[in-house]
């Protein structure tokens, strides 16, 4: 077992544990903290794949900016504690309303995906991983993918306007 593999397994387990705790934490602030941990873990996995630019963006935008927004949202909302509202998953399983269906369907999806992933000989890139991957992200982004990039900025504007439309208080006008 190589050291890379050991590091990968440890990182993956940490990331998965953090993701699990996001869904099961009783305090919503704790869930937010574990979410940051999940993002950081994914960034570390990107680093291991030598995608340094993606890893940096993942840290800056997700673990940084998105988490700041999440914390703001928690501060602005009244509900701090999920507390008793969140049933333990064993209780959810026993629910008379087909509580077992989500578990069955997600396990089935996982198994099907795993089988077909293992079944498929993936095409591998012939070129070696780049030393500095920023260039290989930046050049297509502003050349061949310039249109989707610009449309994405209109999308953000539409989302911004939409958020204001739906949440603004009437007496603010």
């Amino acid at each position: 077992m190589t050291s890379t593999l050991v590091i990968f397994i440890v990182l993956s387990l940490l990331t998965l544990y953090a993701a699990y705790r996001v869904a099961t934490a009783h305090l919503i602030t704790h869930a937010a903290l574990f979410l940051a941990g999940t993002f950081a873990g994914v960034a570390a996995l990107f680093f291991m794949l030598q995608a340094d630019f993606l890893a940096a963006v993942q840290l800056l935008l997700y673990a940084g900016a998105v988490m700041a927004v999440v914390v703001f949202a928690i501060m602005l909302s009244q509900m701090r504690e999920a507390g008793d509202h969140v049933p333990r998953w064993v209780d959810a399983l026993r629910s008379p309303f087909f509580g077992f269906l989500p578990l069955i369907s997600s396990v089935a999806l996982f198994v099907i995906l795993l089988i077909s992933y293992l079944d498929t000989p993936w095409p591998s890139s012939a070129t070696a991983a780049a030393v500095n991957s920023t260039r290989y992200v930046a050049v297509p982004l502003f050349q061949s993918y310039a249109l989707p990039f610009e449309v994405a900025s209109v999308l953000l504007l539409a989302a911004l306007i939409g958020a204001i439309v739906l949440t603004r208080r009437e007496d603010d006008r």
Binding site: D119, T120, W122, Y145, L147, P148, V151, A158, L166
Partner: protein, 477 residues
């Protein structure tokens, strides 16, 4: 990099932004003029679209294709947005909501739909779809003082977000197998993948793409959000969802399924045909029980999606041409029906079918128009819907899928029942005592004239649009 090839989209997005700025400048009692700004912007965008090349040239690094199909969908979505604008001016002001933001979101959503329809690459296709969807979620929940509108927005958002993520997951699997994001490259790589036998993941990816798009166009069994979203949305947006949003989904299916999956061997056409029969049957049968006219039209539009899917299942040039013609017919008749409903609800009338009692006496013009639109949705001769169904049936028979033609015919017979119920209520039921006369605004009148003329024109002189639709469907690959 030549952005001149997307002038129609640039103009429309710029008008959307200008509307937000004008909202601050224009005094509140003059806001009606914003409707005119939006209409002029859409007309300008349409003119720009007419001047774009349509020789199948690729532009912007292969992101978009300028073929007759692009022109067709650009004009179709602009026409839909134009009608929505015309009949939302009074409606939104009557509800006390801000017109500028509403029209700006309509512009952004239409821009997204147009980007999607001209895309020749799954990345720009997905970004266009998301621009359309996110604007449409907000539009569905725009009347935030009404719980039903909130419900519509939330249900549409949750289902749409799920659909988008399933679609994106599918696209990422396809990318993983083929290593390509361009639609023709994907088509080529899929054929190679099929011959080399590693198509398990490719098939799963394509399946997920179909499921995601099935949600977006409300095909059965992914249609359950549609009635709630239609019932609660502002009535103009119910029309927008059924014409522009579903039209965009159909455009995505033509680009992704007919082009990228077209060369694949196997029987996916039969599966699409089965989906089509299921969709039209469930839509029509469920519509029989509806008491609210917007819900009834929601199930009716599910059924219409089923008819359209039949043409896609056939997959021949004639089939795609029939789909395009049907979309044009559907634009006029559905928008017309929703416009009548909107003018009645602006006048304070409810949306239950029983509220339509005696409409033939109270407002003969509106009752005649609604009857025409229903006749067209049903497929009575001399209306657009008849020519649409005729061409779909013809394409199915010539394409060797006569069972689809039988399905369409049987379903049209089922749908007589619920359209007849509305007509009987309007014309034969007694007038309620406290009925008030119904006034219409100039914008609503214009929208009604356009939709009526369109519905009858496509039914009596369909050649022009037939020619356009067939021209657009030739050489989509």
């Amino acid at each position: 990099m030549n952005f001149g090839t997307v002038w129609p989209e640039i103009i429309l997005a710029a008008v959307g932004m200008a509307l937000i700025l004008l909202d601050v400048i224009v005094p509140k009692q003059r806001q009606r003029a914003l409707g005119l700004v939006a209409v002029l912007g859409m007309v300008g965008s349409g003119v720009a679209a007419a001047f774009e090349p349509r020789n199948g040239a690729l532009a912007l690094g292969g992101m978009i294709i300028l073929d007759p199909l692009s022109l067709f969908f650009r004009l179709l979505f602009l026409a839909g947005a134009l009608l929505v604008t015309l009949f939302s001016v009074d409606y939104i002001r009557g509800k006390g909501r801000d017109l500028a933001e509403f029209l700006a979101l309509v512009c952004f959503a239409t821009t997204g739909a147009m980007i999607l329809a001209i895309s020749w690459n799954v990345v720009s296709l997905f970004v266009g779809l998301e621009l359309l969807s996110i604007s449409a979620y907000v539009l569905a929940g725009f009347l935030r003082d009404e719980p039903k509108s909130n419900e519509a927005g939330l249900k549409y958002f949750l289902n749409g977000a799920l659909a988008s993520s399933v679609l994106l997951f599918g696209l990422s699997l396809v990318y993983g197998v083929t290593g390509q994001t361009g639609i023709p490259e994907i088509a080529k790589a899929l054929v190679t993948a099929q011959t080399q036998g590693y198509s398990t993941v490719a098939l799963m990816g394509l399946g997920m793409v179909l499921v995601g798009l099935g949600f977006k166009i409300a095909a059965v069994p992914f249609h359950l959000w549609a009635p709630d979203a239609y019932e609660g949305s502002p009535t103009p947006i119910a029309g927008f969802l059924s014409v522009v949003a579903e039209g965009a989904g159909i455009a995505a299916i033509i680009r992704l399924v007919s082009v990228a999956m077209g060369p694949l061997e196997g029987s996916w056409g039969v599966w699409l045909g089965a989906l089509s029969i299921l969709t039209m049957t469930v839509g029509n049968v469920t519509a029989l029980w509806q008491k609210n006219i917007k819900r009834m039209l929601a199930y009716s539009s599910v059924a219409q999606v089923g008819y359209i899917l039949a043409g896609l299942a056939v997959g021949t040039t004639a089939g795609i041409g029939a789909v395009l013609f049907y979309l044009a017919a559907y634009l006029f008749m559905t928008m017309g029906a929703f416009t009548v409903i909107a003018s009645l609800s602006s006048a304070g009338q409810g949306n239950e079918i029983s509220d339509y009692a005696g409409l033939g006496v109270r407002s003969p013009i509106l009752a005649v128009l609604l009857t025409i639109f229903m006749a067209s949705l049903l497929g009575i001769p001399a209306t657009a819907g008849f020519m649409g169904k005729l061409s779909l049936i013809g394409a199915a028979v010539h394409g060797g899928m006569a069972w689809l033609a039988v399905g369409i015919a049987v379903n049209s017979a089922i749908s007589v029942a619920y359209y007849w119920l509305v007509a009987r209520t309007m014309w034969l039921d007694p007038v309620p005592e406290k009925a008030e006369p119904i006034r219409r605004s100039a914008e609503l009148g214009a929208a009604l004239v356009v939709t009526t003329v369109g519905t009858l024109f496509l039914g009596i002189l369909p050649q022009v649009v037939f020619f356009f639709a067939n021209w657009a469907s030739v050489g989509i690959r």
